[in-house]
Symmetry: C3
Subunit: 129 residues, 3 copies
């Protein structure tokens, strides 16, 4: 059986916990080998990709350090299972984020919206967590 193809679209910082939980549940339920997923972040959601501590203050105030660590840990685990995390270059620019300030495993694409359009034309489903 060919794997299920699905694109996760995150454009608000507040939706990251839901998106990551969905991915964890999805992988647990159907198995990574049956899944071809990718995550596209644009808008202020790209701030979640910042590794540099100067951007900590831009994240939701309701996120404790402990909760944030848990989220970053989940993201890294999901990525290591083969799910790419993409950042929109337009969104990085609008949020004064440079590529070198991001976690090393994040892939920058010229326009997140183009990725969303192209992947669906290649048979990917779409979900907005």
């Amino acid at each position: 059986m060919s794997p299920y193809k699905i694109l996760f679209h995150v454009n608000e910082l507040e939706r990251w916990p839901v998106a990551l939980l969905n991915l964890v549940n999805l992988i647990k339920d159907i198995g990574k080998e049956n899944l071809q997923a990718e995550v596209v972040a644009n808008g202020p959601a790209v701030l979640f990709y910042a590794a540099s501590p100067e951007f900590r203050g831009k994240l939701p105030a309701t996120w404790s350090d402990e909760f944030l660590q848990k989220l970053l840990h989940d993201m890294q685990e999901i990525q290591q299972l083969g799910v790419p995390f993409l950042a929109c270059a337009n969104a990085l620019k609008m949020n004064a984020l440079e590529e070198r300030s991001l976690h090393g495993f994040v892939t920058v694409v010229p326009a997140g919206i183009t990725e969303i359009v192209k992947k669906q034309s290649e048979g990917y489903g779409y979900v907005k967590p």
Copy 2:
């Protein structure tokens, strides 16, 4: 003509009135016989499925009892026209809801996100009301 296939994704309680209104308008416009729709709820949105009065306090405070009755009535009518309402088992657990506390017509699936992914691979469209 084969029916239009569409999956409605609801993951926030506040979006139920919009989702149900969309379904009512859709059925009115194209006719149930031309429609193969289903509704998948995950996250806190599953609390809307609770039949047990102890969960009334978890619903939006802006919903009057009268408004809530109207929503439940609409949901039941839509379901009777053949549109299944699904609940994510992970979300039920996270919201301390047991299957026996739900309206009898609700169908529980192991993971709502899997349903969303699989249905799109079967040709369903996706809408996030």
Copy 3:
């Protein structure tokens, strides 16, 4: 190569700036000739289509007149590049808006949700900005 087909769904007024920015970036990135896009507004989002000044007060208070002019200008430019802007007739009615109060380039459809369903059955992707 056949053009990419994508439907933008806007159902909250607050999401218009994001939707228009996505469209501007998409057109810049892949070129209008490679794109078959359309925008469907339902819910209160249709108020953005009002040309009549009596509806100005219904728009987000955080939008300055200057910002609104910029948004309307972007919408008009995108439309002139061949992207139709559709309004749901049900939503117009619910928001006490008549077709003659809308910008001339807006197209009214009986039900926005039907358009969303049909276009996906014709191979369009879906994005919720």
